[in-house]
């Protein structure tokens, strides 16, 4: 079973050091420390295990180090920054693992950019050696790239010439959309195995600066200090520790403090039951900080994050995620009020940004997502985002006889109107309502109201609203029918329908990954017996089917 929970004391591959306002994250991959047998992580190449630590470090820097305004990502190895994803790992992995791996690494790169843009924690890549493929893509996720000028260290995206695949973590999109590299030059760069270095790398905007070896360390420190000085993060506050996330697995039931999963293997479905807050929110920010990791929104974000990753990687055949909730709408709404009121506080902002990223992770999961609104559920505001992320929402009309819990209701809060954009930049409500101004205004007019099934359906928040007589059968049939379809077709269908509206760099990265990379990953030219990935490392040349598709 793959485990995503870790902490710096268990890192095998990264060295995290914080000095004043600057953190340094040095990649020092343990060659023998791969997650699976059969490959060695040479030249600072990475597998999922390396990236899990990076994701953990990124998160901890945000919560545990409010004083840090700049993060330097560099290599602890001589003359090599990072060689990218380990090729032998990729060529030995199942297609499913490759796709999952790429998605996760992309989410981490996006989270790094999110930290630079929204957290005041700006990432800088200090490329002190050879930087290829995923290594350069990691640098591309940073706001600034400094490349050592030693006559040999280069940045490169050698996937096409070397492996017959594409850069899998947004490299192509970031070249043209983020760094504004001219596309003719990008074309040359991406077909040149050895990449570019020195002056030309700067002229072509592949890096921001080249620095001689003798001045490299000092220059990196100076640039990082400049960036940190511009950060609004508080220098004098103590951080919020992230202790190990409590999780109990008991057969097909998994419990977190704020979440319970119940897996139904026969139907290929899991119920994800969110537990709303049981107490009123903290009176003010100081109290929230004293609660630390137990602060309900943060606790929920961590649990949901871990649950999504666990289900993605360890429960691949559980194709339908059924989202439910238990609790009080008022309590959830009260937390939303706190998040909105104190959004300028660094901790409240981080908790909200974390929820935003987890919700994006949910959107991007290749699983059917159904939302169930029943008596006793608490889909208000932040939790209503779960319904808006769902492919379909079933809401019980009224109550169930003999059930004395309050009837099914949903509630919108201001948090549904901007705090949690999707990768397209739209709120989930806008995406649901086709960005129709009238429909959105209608919904906004009902902020704070408890909406019953008929009202929710009318506003576009519920898909179907069976009454108590039909409820059980309707829900059961929907889940059973879903399980009968082709999982591949469903993944494509859902991904195509979930993201209406505009594209952003972030949405493009995932769309291109799914459409192109994942296609190429399946093709004989890459993975056939004579394909480039299979032949890599044997010294034998790949054989290509020359037909263009």
């Amino acid at each position: 079973m793959l485990e995503f929970r870790t902490d710096p004391s268990r890192y095998k591959h990264w060295k995290l050091a914080v000095e004043g306002r600057v953190a340094t994250l040095a990649l020092d991959v343990a060659e023998g420390g791969g997650l699976f047998p059969g490959y060695e992580l040479k030249l600072n190449s990475y597998d999922l295990g390396v990236d899990i630590e990076l994701a953990d470090a990124m998160l901890r820097l945000r919560f545990e180090h409010p004083e840090v305004g700049a993060v330097v990502v560099t290599s602890a190895k001589d003359r090599v920054f990072c060689a990218g994803a380990n090729i032998r790992m990729l060529s030995g992995a199942t297609h499913g693992h490759k796709v999952n791996f790429c998605k996760f690494t992309n989410e981490t790169r996006n989270a790094i950019e999110d930290a630079s843009v929204h957290s005041g924690q700006v990432w800088l890549a200090a490329v002190n050696g050879a930087c290829a493929g995923g290594g350069y893509e990691l640098a591309l996720a940073c706001e600034k790239i400094l490349l050592i000028d030693d006559g040999s260290s280069a940045v490169s995206l050698p996937e096409v010439p070397l492996l017959a695949v594409l850069p899998g973590t947004g490299g192509l999109t970031r070249l043209v959309d983020k760094r504004k590299v001219r596309r003719d030059r990008a074309d040359f760069f991406c077909t040149t195995e050895e990449g570019l270095r020195g002056k030309r790398a700067v002229e072509w905007r592949l890096v921001d600066e080249v620095v001689p070896r003798s001045r490299f360390t000092d220059t990196v420190a100076a640039r990082a200090t400049e960036l940190a000085a511009q950060s609004a993060r508080p220098a004098g506050e103590s951080g919020i520790a992230l202790p190990p996330l409590a999780r109990a697995i008991d057969g097909d039931r998994i419990d977190y403090d704020t979440l319970t999963l119940r897996i139904d293997r026969e139907r290929g479905a899991v119920e994800i039951i969110v537990k709303g807050p049981t107490d009123a929110p903290p009176y003010d920010v100081a109290v929230a900080k004293r609660q630390g990791a137990a602060f309900w929104p943060l606790s929920l974000a961590r649990a949901l994050d871990d649950a999504i990753l666990h289900l993605r990687f360890n429960e691949e055949t559980i194709g339908t995620w059924v989202l439910r909730s238990e609790g009080m709408l008022d309590a959830v709404a009260a937390y939303d009020a706190l998040l909105a009121r104190d959004s300028s506080d660094w901790f409240i902002r981080e908790a909200t940004l974390y929820l935003k990223r987890v919700l994006k992770r949910l959107d991007l999961s290749a699983r059917t997502i159904f939302g169930l609104v029943e008596p006793g559920s608490c889909f208000a505001g932040t939790l209503a985002e779960l319904l808006l992320a769902a492919d379909r929402v079933y809401m019980l009309d009224g109550s169930i006889e003999g059930d004395n819990r309050p009837p099914a209701r949903v509630r919108l809060t201001p948090m549904n109107f901007g705090a949690y954009p999707m990768v397209t930049g739209l709120t989930r409500l806008k995406a649901r309502l086709q960005d129709d101004a009238t429909a959105i205004a209608d919904a906004a007019a009902r902020i704070g109201e408890d909406l019953d099934a008929a009202e929710a359906e009318k506003l576009g928040l519920a898909t179907f609203t069976p009454d108590e007589i039909d409820w059980e059968d309707e829900v059961r049939l929907a889940i059973e029918e879903r399980a009968a379809f082709s999982p591949d077709a469903l993944t494509g269908l859902e991904a195509s329908l979930r993201f209406p509206g505009p594209e952003t760099m972030e949405s493009k990265i995932f769309a291109r990954l799914s459409a192109w990379q994942n296609w190429i990953f399946q093709r004989p030219n890459a993975v056939g017996p004579a394909g480039a990935l299979k032949r890599y490392g044997t010294g034998q040349r790949p054989e290509f089917d020359r037909g263009r598709v």
Partner: protein
Amino acid sequence: MAIDYIERIPNNVDLSRDRRLQRALEEWQPRYLDWWREMGPESYQGLDVYLRTATSVDAKGWASFGHVKMPEYRWGIFLAEPEAGRTIGFGEHKGEPVWQEVPGEYRGVLRRLIVTQGDTEPASVEQQRHLGHTAPSLYDLRNLFQVNVEEGRHLWAMVYLLHAYFGRDGREEAETLLERRSGDEDKPRILGAFNEKTPDWLSFFMFTYFTDRDGKYQLASLAESGFDPLARTCRFMLTEEAHHMFVGETGIGRVIQRTCELMREHKVHDVAPFGAINLDTMQRYLNFHYSVSLDLFGSEISTNAANFYSMGLKGRFEEGRREDDHRLTDAFYPVLALDGGRVASRDEPALTSLNARLRDDYSTDCARGVVRWNQVIKRHGIDFELKLPHQAFNRRIGAFANMHVTPEGEVISKETWNAAVDRWLPTEQDRAHVQSLMKPVREPGKFASWIAPPARGINNQPADFQYVKFS
């Protein structure tokens, strides 16, 4: 600037009619001379040195002797004569006609191979630039300079290929070859061993025996290349490389000779008080230079080496004499590896083991000289044998990097290593003693106390010939 190409740059590549090449060399040649003046042999640029110059590739022209000032040396461009109907001898293109132009698909890889080889040539000149001050005789001083100008010519040879076949990128790489500096923090030479100092003449002889021999094996593999201009260039370079190894082998042999003579004469083991170098010190120098040179072959298991072979760019040593399919896709080769705390041999796919195989060939070759040195010791009736250390000893690259292995091949702890390393690698004391002997001898026919005269002179010149004229 008009250059009389035939006179200034002896060549057999029809330089006077190749405008593209002329244009490239017109820019590069002055920079090369600047580099030579700045980084070539220190203080001796104005002296007349008895040098061999290649003026053509035939038996008559490849060795024209005469006194010349080094900056006026005629660095030429020579390719071995083409072989009619030559076909690619190995890899996936085996049997196809050799390439006269760079195949587009392999352009980047070939360029990298040529640049890596080319970078070592000026590097060794830089490493050795101070040695002229302490030469043990005019004969040795001349040999040093001969080696230096030929390394310079080898740089020319590689630059010729870059200019002639790789367009703008090739010209840029040729410039960078002159910009990197051995041991420079900002612009180091590409390979680690070429950034180390050559501090004394014993190191120089060891370098020319062991490290230049790596060059021989690299060149010999490239001489098999399906890219014919590279193959022909390397074949001609090999004739010169042989002289460098001759300097190394006879140099070490003469030091041993001198030591043995003194041991016999004074009936002692320790000849240091007599201004010579003890045999165990020689062994430690040998251990060091051999192990550092082994690193130059790269990782035992190498995808790059496998690719170069399959692409038909870099073959095995004496590829043509080997009897197998020359494709190696189904073959295996025994490679040394760590196995349960011991160094043991295990079969690996032959393609990815090409570095290990070339290293083995090299080791076999190295051992031949050691046998000849031991004959010198034996002839003096002294009970001592020089030995090559185990391949896993003192390695920084490959399967044995970061491990501690004795010269006999036994894996040991760091503590044991630290306690014994002074027996195996040159100590501060060794180096200080060797350094103390480095006094220049400039009288024709005279030699420093620690080295015997050569058996015969260069180009059969008499013993007191003035190889270098100090005016």
